[in-house]
Each structure stands twice: as C-alpha cells, then as structure tokens.
C-alpha cells in the first residue's frame, strides 16, 4: 500500500475523539497530570539545591548547613510546613525565600542584592540558586502536615495584612485575588481555578508549590506564583521578598494548615 493511501487508511482506524463534554475533558486532563508525576524534572532542581545547601560558598566560604529555617540550625526536615514564621534574629516574619536570602547574607557573606539577583531562572544560562534551594528545602517537607503558627504578634499581623490583600481590588481591571479565587467552579479557558476561600481549595493549592511548570520548563516557587498573579491582574510588580508577598503567603499557608504537603509537584 502506498504511504499516502496508508495515511488515509490510518485516519480511519484512529479512535474517534471523545465527545467534548466538560466532565470527560477534566478526566483526560487528570490522566495527563497523573502521567507527568512519573519522573518530575523538579528532582533535578532538588538535587542542585541540595548541592548548593552543602557547598561552601560566598566570601565567607561557608555552607548553609547552619542556616536556621525555624526548627533549629541546619534542620531542613519539616521546616517548610511551618513557614512563614517570625524570626527573632531578623525581627521579621519571613517566608522560605527571604529566610534563605538572610542565611546567604549572614552566614555566607553575600550582599542582599547578590543573593536576590536571580529570583526566577530562565534556561541553563540564567539559573536561579534560590529556586534550586527552595526545591531542596521544600522536598524535605513532603509528607508533613502544614503547621503554620500564629503565635507572635507579627505573625498575626502578617496574616491580617495578607487577608486584606487577598480581597483588595485594584489595578486596571479592578481585580482582587478573590475575583478569580473566591468561588467554586471558576476557570480561565480550560484551567480550573481553586477556590482559595475554602479550606479544601486552599489546602490543595498551597501544598502543590513549588512546582515544575511544563509551560516554562522551569521550577517555580510560591513567590513566583504570587508575582505572576499580580502580573495577570495588571497590578504593579510584586517585589520579591517584600512584606506584601510574605503577608499573602502567610495568609494562604496558614489557611492550608492540616493538609499534607506534597511538593515539589509538576504542573502545566
């Protein structure tokens, strides 16, 4: 059979596509996501992050192994499940990335600008150490229940500010986080939007970051997710490691309490 007629014949034996009903579409997309779990490129970032954690770096040529992420110097296991939290030495509530920057400055002698230079990487030429370190540290909280405390007054304040920001309408489109994430069953094109105002929605959403984003071929952190939401809402740029970013993270992380942390994950 000539290749051209074969192609025509093949078109006949291709299984007829499913009826494009929303239900079966979600099922198929769920299958797509499940198939991606096996062999998550995020592991490549986790491995690089572990190396960076243990490597002597910076002007002081010291590793990050004495960095206190809240559970004691050098304790990485379970640390992410308790962040953000108040740190007395900085007198500030910090999320993981700001704490990593703090340790890079205090322990390794980097300047804050150097440590924050590339918060979000792009390809093999512009890699982000912070993304790799975040991947490593968060992987050590996999399987741990989210357990963010609100004991210190500054932690409570961060939560309240984060909550206010969540509902704050602004920008050219008068959007708030709640606009997209405040109701069940919302979606943008075929992307389901989690309802972050329910415990279930908040838990599922927060515990799947950081994630390897297939569309970018990069591992992205929660700071990135907030930064990108602000961009999509046409808000001014969310500054990396700012009080605003930390407050929103505090609000969303605390609302995820009780859920088992299951990241780094893989997403579209």
């Amino acid at each position: 059979m000539k290749p051209s007629t074969l192609l025509a014949a093949l078109a006949g034996i291709v299984v007829a596509p499913l009826v494009w009903a929303q239900g079966s579409t979600s099922d198929e997309i769920a299958k797509y996501r499940a198939a991606l779990q096996d062999g998550n490129p995020a592991e490549l970032w986790e491995a690089r992050g572990e190396d960076l954690w243990k490597q002597k770096r910076g002007p002081k040529q010291v590793s990050l192994e004495r960095c206190d992420l809240g559970r004691g110097a050098g304790v990485v296991k379970g640390a992410y499940a308790e962040l953000p939290r108040y740190f007395a030495d900085a007198d500030r509530v910090m999320d993981l990335e700001t704490r990593l920057v703090w340790c890079m400055v205090q322990l390794q002698g980097f300047t804050e600008a150097e440590a924050k230079k590339t918060p979000f990487g792009s390809g093999s030429d512009r890699k982000s150490d912070l993304e790799a370190l975040t991947a490593y540290v968060t992987s050590e909280s996999r399987g741990v229940k989210m357990n963010v405390a609100l004991t210190h007054p500054k932690e409570l304040e961060a939560y309240r500010v984060g909550e206010k920001l969540f509902y704050y309408r602004g920008g050219t489109h008068d959007f708030a986080c709640a606009t997209c994430h405040g109701e069940d069953g919302k979606r943008i094109r075929l992307q389901d939007l989690p309802n972050l105002m329910t415990a279930e929605g908040a838990q599922k959403a927060y515990t799947s970051w950081p994630a390897y984003r297939v569309s970018q071929g990069e591992l992205r952190t929660f700071e990135w997710r907030l930064y990108d939401c602000f961009r999509q809402q046409r808000f001014p740029e969310l500054i990396f490691g700012s009080d605003g970013a930390i407050a929103l993270t505090m609000y969303l992380a605390r609302n995820a309490n009780g859920a088992v942390y299951d990241a780094p994950a893989i997403k579209r």
Binding site: P3, S4, E28, R33, A35, I188, R189, L190, R268
Partner: protein, 157 residues
C-alpha cells in the same frame, strides 16, 4: 573505580577513549555508539519520507502496537507523555512520529534482545495531531496511530 572512570570521561586525559571503553567493557556497545545521528530522518514531513530515511517502506497497520500512559488531551503541548508497547515478536526498534509537527520524527529507540519493547518518553506537539508509533520487527515495519489533543490551559496552576 567508577569515580576514576567518571573523572576520565570528564577530562578525557591520558588514556585513549577506545582503551578506556574496552577497560570499562563498552566495546560491544561501541557499534551502537558509533551510530551517527540520522539527520535525514529527522528532517521529513511525511510517514513515507521518514520510513525511507530510516531504510524501510510500506508499514502494515498493526493492532499489536499499543499506546500506554498516553493521555487523550495534553494540557500543554510542550510536554506530552507518550508510551509505546509493541507485542510484535522480534521488535527491533520503536519510533515515535507526530504528524503535524514541523518535522514528523520525534525519536527512534533501538531495542536490543532482552529489553522489553515498551518505551515511555515525553514529546513536544505543536498542535492537536495524530501520533504514529512505528515498529520495526524482524526486518518489517508496522504502524499504529492515536490522536492526541493539545490545549492551552489558561493562566494559572
């Protein structure tokens, strides 16, 4: 021993690659290594041309080639999981072709005796398209097809 070998492979210094490969027991795999990349096969736009470049022609449709772990809808065409399982005896190679890609051939896997003729990988798809699994078994070619839809997911997640 392995650390030393890795250092050699990194620096390439001192010993010739051939003696190194011999020492590491790679010489029987040398033939596979020496196989150069088939540029012509990766530059084709039809099943027939690809087959020609691979040295074959006229594949027979086969129901003994299955797509495994290959979803019907890919949320993002940049990464589409594709798995092919061939039940045809004496399968020698499995190739994955994507009809509507700029070039059809995505990958060719040579399956030596002892290796299961089941391969999983991830490919890029430019748009919704048929994926062809092309199997060479006992010198003859067989093919099966599956349509995979590609969709843009939106803004989040």
């Amino acid at each position: 021993m392995n650390d030393g070998r890795r250092t050699f492979l990194k620096s390439g210094g001192g010993v010739t690659l051939l003696t190194l490969l011999a020492a590491a027991g790679w010489l029987d795999a040398e033939e596979a290594l020496a196989q150069t990349w088939n540029k012509a096969a990766f530059d084709t736009h039809s099943l027939g041309d690809t087959l020609h470049a691979l040295g074959g022609n006229e594949p027979a449709q086969s129901r003994d080639i299955e797509f495994v772990q290959t979803p019907e809808i890919a949320e993002n065409g940049a990464v589409v999981p594709v798995g092919v399982a061939s039940k045809i005896p004496k399968t020698e190679s499995i190739a994955i072709l994507i009809e509507k890609n700029p070039n059809m051939l995505a990958a060719v896997f040579d399956v030596p005796a002892g290796t299961d003729p089941v391969i999983s990988t991830r490919v890029k798809m430019a748009q919704t398209s048929n994926i062809y699994a092309l199997v060479k078994a006992d010198g003859r070619y067989y093919v099966a097809a599956k349509e995979v839809k590609v969709t843009l997911g939106g803004c989040g997640g």
